[in-house]
Symmetry: C2
Subunit: 205 residues, 2 copies
Amino acid sequence: MAKAKQNGRTENGAVKEDSSTRERIFHMAAELFTRNGYDATGVQELGDAVGLGRGALYHHIGSKENLLYQISIRHVYQMVEVGEEILASDQPADEKFRELGRRLMAMIAENLPEITVFFHEHRSLSKQHNEELIDIRDQFENVWVRILEQGVEEGIFRPMPPVAIKGILGLFNYSYVWFVPNGKETPEHVADIFADMALSGMKSR
Amino acid sequence: MAKAKQNGRTENGAVKEDSSTRERIFHMAAELFTRNGYDATGVQELGDAVGLGRGALYHHIGSKENLLYQISIRHVYQMVEVGEEILASDQPADEKFRELGRRLMAMIAENLPEITVFFHEHRSLSKQHNEELIDIRDQFENVWVRILEQGVEEGIFRPMPPVAIKGILGLFNYSYVWFVPNGKETPEHVADIFADMALSGMKSR
């Protein structure tokens, strides 16, 4: 539901303003959590950084833990949606693989603080939020599994051991550690190089 | 220097006991930092967990930041040593690649808390320690670069864009996120699957 609001399906200016304020809070919180850690970042500090008092800030975030949850989960949700769209298209499996890699790399490159928070701070989530995060993460992993299955059916890919999926995820996801935004490599170019490596490694013989 | 002591080059029982106590502290600290975060882990809490008073604990660790540094750097140092040995052997590049992958996966699987601390807590290092960490990490990356160069010279590998190294590191390193110790897959088996994928992807045509 938070998602629908973020997408701009708003009916009036007030809600729209709420939505853009929330975006600003989310982004600043991701920056602060990445730079100083979730534990060491106070709600007061975040409020100062976005120019909001305690009451207004809590109106937007609910709680600090909920803020962490929203930051952690939204891009994974978004990638599941992207993945489902790609799966529903009528491309062959290697094209789907390539496109999902490009979209994933672009998403990571554009949201480095958020993705860092996703990887580093999940221990601070409530049990329920953590389970929801694992569930949605598994859904995304499953998109890759289905693309590989399609490729095997089409005779493009050789059958791979299940753990190969973790290697593919690592190839792309690990970029949160090293990617330099606005450096010499675009995310799409890097994704193509990685997809080339992976695809030739998975080709049926 | 800390390394030489850990390796057991000790001359008497007292130093040896010091060394095993230090190992115990390092391991417990890595567990606590991973479970609760570096910021949220107090020296008092660590002392209680290993059954040492404040004075004895500081004798072993120097400072909390130094402890973080030692935990973060020692396995990377170790992997650089392993990498130099492999490089110095007279195997062809694909065998070196395979062996380094196996050794790296085994090291990660055996030291998951330490590797998690390495990836998640570097922002808490002093500037100097952080620079040293980056330097040794780059040395390890350079071992992979040299194996790839050897493979191109031998005509086994096609020339790859430099960013391909990041993909290879991601393939193996990302296992700190998902590897389940004592699960159904041994680290060596996983490493072989990943090396197969990467090697067929890098083969010269």
